[in-house]
Amino acid sequence: MQLRLKDNTFTLLEQKAIWWEEERTLLISDLHIGKITHFRKAGIAVPQQAIEENFEKLDAMMNSHDVKCIIFVGDLFHSDINSEWDRFCAWRNQYREVDMILVLGNHDEFPIEKYEEICIAVYDKELRVGAFTFAHHPKPILEQDEYVISGHVHPVVKLQGLANQRLKFPCFYFGEQQAILPSFGEFTGGYNIEVLDNDQVIAVVEDKLIRIQ
């Protein structure tokens, strides 16, 4: 599914990421690498297999696109450093020719040098590329002509039909001046979002994308 924003083309991917054609860039939010190991370290037995699922999804996108750059809009790594970091570094090494950029999120807590060691450029609050601003949190106050692409809220859309039918899906959200990405990570939940009339919402239904409005 393709969307045009400010003369740029964005392809939404069923892996819950966006492919920015002009810049050959993948946009990914809320990966939460390390969360499963963080839980396991605390004695909570989340299955390890779920860790690999994230990397399989990442590899699938890398293989099907000619990627020049990846922008992670926050919450790349969940909390303290742990052994999942090594798994992530190994993955990073597979794609040395690709630029990777992280805009810090509230869960990205450990020293920035760690990212720099593996050639990931770090931005504190936001990053501007062309007509777009990338930030972890959706911005409450927007400048004129600004378009912000963010994550953090793990947006989910609720559908209601006749005969009391109800369904819930993770979704992409595109407002007048602001877009929000669904959370990419396997072991992350979701929260409902409020939608205005002219907004666009695209749900991720199993492995398909469906425009809701």
């Binding site: 989340v46 299955p47 559908l159 005969a163």
Partner: protein, 824 residues
């Protein structure tokens, strides 16, 4: 007569007390070294019935009993309610003091200070009153084994309350541990009358005891019970699916006025608040002599109510099951039950709260909350007359409780696996546990399930040589804080601005409240000021109207015993000329039902079809109780959806269930061509229905919390439960996808099947329907039977349409509505 018996006999004589037959029997059995279960009504002296033989035995073995000190822990007394311990201690201590036995009676529950607990560990009292949770906490301390070496008897009070719950399983595990530490220990339980006393005894005493070593002792004291329904003048006055019954208030109050003290039981905490408020408005004289009692109120407030009940200072107490148990309030003369108690045993227990004077008749009034409940009034009376009581079915294979228990032991003195496996298999709950299952649980707590990756950092229980132990202090602390099996919704404390604590309220209710909103709580009008961390700050308000808080909590389903009576009554209504006052009142409703549709007799099964703006409704009336209906609804929905792609939303109550769809179903044709009520492939079909997954997902919340997959948070620290809820569902998804053999997931499905769907009962109901003639009625509008189901908003879904198609259909419907609105 033994020396002990002589001492007790002269003490009894000095008080001019006489032992009842059951007390004498208990003494004899105890002195023979037997274990057993004592079945006697509250207020008949069962506490001394069990305690006196313990004292006799002690005196017999200790001629110097008056001077002997430091006997260490002799009696471990488990009680389901903290609130029961204070009265119990007073009674037991009194007996010891008068008999000049220098015993200390100690309490160890969540209410006891850390200082007192530490003192207890240094010098244990001879008798310890304790809850199952606190006993497990004791197992999580170092060198706990030594504390129990002198134990003579394990006692479980109100055993019927623990049986059939995970706290009961905790008790089983604890008792089998203590029997292992002190093999000569006896086990005694006290239970109200339930259908399966023999089984209750076996669960209590474990699998390693012979029949000859145990005994059931029943008191012959029979209470006379009178049941009367409070009837509305005209049946139309009653809302069809109202949950109040409050419009019968003017008929209820004369009953209250005529007795010294009345307990009015409602089924929910919200209802107690509603009744309190209405009575205060219409009968302002009741202010000061009426009180409110429910589980979310401050303990101090509840203590005050109980105290004043004893002192005969209260005329009316409006309460929930919070007053089902425990000490007797002698002034209580009358009991009123508002709404269906759902089971004959519960009704009987509540009735037993009145009429404590010897030979007095217990009187209980039944107030229906909607017209069809009138049938239940008759049925309850008949059930009590015929003395038909429900079983309390014990739980089996609770691996969540086992996992928690193993970590508890590892935090405490540690364990060796082979020896412990043997011990645990001696409980009723785990008697059929296989070695594979045992190894899985051990794996779950040591490696966190199958460990595939080299860099794993899972840390919980470690193995040192042969010993399973917890070394990590953080893990140990978190575990101690999570011991228990009661998983509650997140609650917020309600406090005045000045800091006085009033009680607790659920987060859901408060989440959408704005400052200035008035709500009714603890019988007070309170203005919501703000939420600070886990506290709702309020001030008193003069505003008369306000919101009533709702507390979630499962709706109890109708027991199968009671449902059978209801079916019989309906059948009876067709033929019997004088069916009793309740059924006569119900005539207009029954007439309307037979005009619009039909009243099924015992050979008929009624299905109604109806079309409204919501869609196409199918109503089925098995009269089997909510849970069976839930199972049957999803079974039927699944079977129909296999024949044609369709989405149903389902609703049910205790009398029937509804399948609602957005396209019409030709049920005649379907029933002619397919055996929708077949019991063949029943289990497979249920398990494949979407609903079993949804039910299992809900069950998993409790299981994952007990097993330690979810941490409920440190006391006082703000941890949002919405987060916890989402996480339990997320854990369910992630584990189901990546570790399908996980036993906790399996347990969730099994619990859904046993408890949620009541598979055995469902099978019996289907067999019955198979023998019945199916009656299909097309109705122009919903009938009296159908209406209460129709208005129920708690719904489930089942679909065989492709998810993608459903989303597209919903979007189209949405657009159509939009267009229609634009036109207007």
């Amino acid at each position: 007569m033994t020396p002990g018996e002589k001492v007790i006999a002269s003490w009894l004589k000095s008080k001019s007390w006489k032992l009842a037959d059951f007390q004498q029997e208990t003494i004899a059995a105890y002195l023979e070294g037997k274990s057993g279960l004592l079945n006697a009504p509250t207020g008949s002296g069962k506490t001394y019935g069990v305690f006196l033989p313990v004292l006799i035995d002690y005196i017999n073995h200790n001629p110097d009993y008056k001077t002997k000190k430091g006997s260490r822990l002799q009696v471990l007394w488990i009680t389901p309610l903290r609130a029961l311990t204070k009265d119990l201690r007073r009674n037991l201590q009194k007996a010891c003091d008068e008999l000049e036995i220098p015993w200390q009676i100690g309490i160890r529950t969540g209410d006891v200070s850390a200082k007192e607990k530490a003192a207890q560990k240094k010098a244990m009292p001879e008798v310890l009153l304790i809850t199952p949770e606190s006993l497990h906490l004791l197992f999580a301390t170092k060198n706990n084994t030594d504390l129990f070496k002198n134990l003579k008897v394990l006692i479980a009070d109100e055993w019927h309350e623990l049986l059939g719950t995970k706290r009961g399983v905790q008790t089983e595990l604890a008792f089998c541990r203590l029997r292992h530490i002190q093999p000569t220990v006896r086990t005694w339980g006290m239970s109200a009358t339930i259908g399966n006393l023999a089984q209750a005894l076996q669960v209590l005493t474990g699998m390693n005891i012979t029949k000859e070593q145990t005994v059931i002792i029943r008191s012959t004291i029979q209470k006379k019970i009178k049941v009367e329904s409070i009837l509305p003048d005209k049946v139309e006055k009653l809302p069809w699916a109202g949950y109040l019954g409050i419009n019968l208030l003017d008929k209820v109050m004369p009953v209250v006025m005529a007795s010294t003290t009345t307990l009015l039981f409602t089924n929910t905490r919200s209802q107690t608040e509603i009744w309190y408020r209405f009575i205060l408005e219409k009968y302002p004289d009741m202010a000061g002599i009426m009180a409110l009692h429910h589980g979310s109120l401050d303990r101090e407030l509840r203590d005050w109510v109980e105290e004043n009940l004893h002192l005969e200072k209260l005329k009316l107490v409006i309460c929930t099951s919070s007053l089902d148990l425990g000490v007797d309030f002698h002034p209580v003369e009358t009991v009123i039950q508002v709404g269906s108690p759902k089971s004959i045993s519960r009704f009987l227990q509540r009735a037993g709260r009145s009429g404590h004077k010897p030979g007095a008749t217990s009187k209980i009034y039944f107030v229906p909350t909607h017209s069809l409940e009138l049938i239940e009034g008759v049925s309850l009376r008949e059930g009590i007359q015929k003395n038909i009581l429900e079983d309390r079915v014990p739980l089996v294979q609770c691996f969540d409780v086992l996992a928690q228990y193993l970590v508890t032991l590892a935090v405490g003195d540690g364990f060796e696996q082979e020896e412990l496996a043997h011990e645990i298999k001696s409980t009723f709950c785990f008697q059929y546990m296989t070695m594979d299952e045992w190894q899985w649980v051990l794996g779950f707590i040591t490696t966190g399930g199958p460990s595939l990756l080299a860099y794993d950092e899972f840390k919980r229980v470690e193995i040192e040589g042969d010993k399973f132990t917890v070394n990590n202090r953080k893990v140990a602390m978190r575990h101690r804080l999570s011991i228990g099996t009661i998983v509650s919704d997140a609650v917020l404390q309600v406090k005045y601005m000045g800091g006085k604590f009033l009680g607790t309220i659920e987060e859901d209710f408060i989440s959408w409240m704005k400052p200035g909103v008035v709500f009714f709580f603890a019988g007070l009008n309170l203005e919501f000021v703000r939420v600070r961390e886990m506290t709702v700050q309020v001030r008193k308000s003069k505003q008369k109207s306000g919101l009533i808080p709702r507390w979630m909590g499962g709706r109890v389903p109708l027991s199968s015993e009671l449902s059978r009576f209801i079916r019989e009554r309906l059948n009876d209504a067709l033929t019997n000329d004088s069916p009793g006052p309740e059924m006569e009142k119900l005539q207009p409703i029954l007439k309307l039902q037979s005009e619009r549709s039909a009243i099924p007799n015992e050979n008929e099964f009624l299905i109604e079809r109806c079309h409204t703006k919501d869609g196409f409704h199918l109503f089925f009336f098995p009269f089997e109780g909510r849970l069976v209906h839930e199972g049957m609804a999803s079974l039927l929905a699944y079977r129909i959806s296999k024949i044609q792609p369709i989405t149903f939303s389902m609703a049910m109550n205790d009398y029937g269930f509804e399948l609602l769809s957005d396209t019409e179903i030709n049920i005649q044709e379907l029933l002619a061509a397919h055996d929708l009520f077949s019991t063949i492939h029943l289990l497979d079909d249920i398990q494949r229905s979407v609903n079993s997954t949804e039910m299992a997902r809900r069950k998993f919340r409790e299981i994952s919390t007990i097993a330690g997959l979810l941490f409920q948070g440190y006391p006082g620290k703000f941890v949002k439960t919405k987060h916890l809820q989402a996480s339990s569902s997320l854990l369910f998804d992630v584990i189901s996808t990546h570790d399908p053999k996980n036993m906790l997931i399996k347990q969730a499905y099994q619990e859904a099947l046993d408890q949620q769907l009541e598979e055995t009962r469902l099978r019996k109901a289907l067999e019955r329907i198979h023998r019945q003639r199916i009656l299909i009625k097309q109705t122009p509008s919903p009938t009296p039977f159908a209406f209460p189901i129709l208005v129920d908003r708690l719904r489930e879904q089942l679909s065989s349409e492709k998810l993608e198609d459903r989303v597209n259909k919903m979007i189209k419907q949405f657009e159509k509505e939009d267009a229609a609105q634009a036109k207007r």
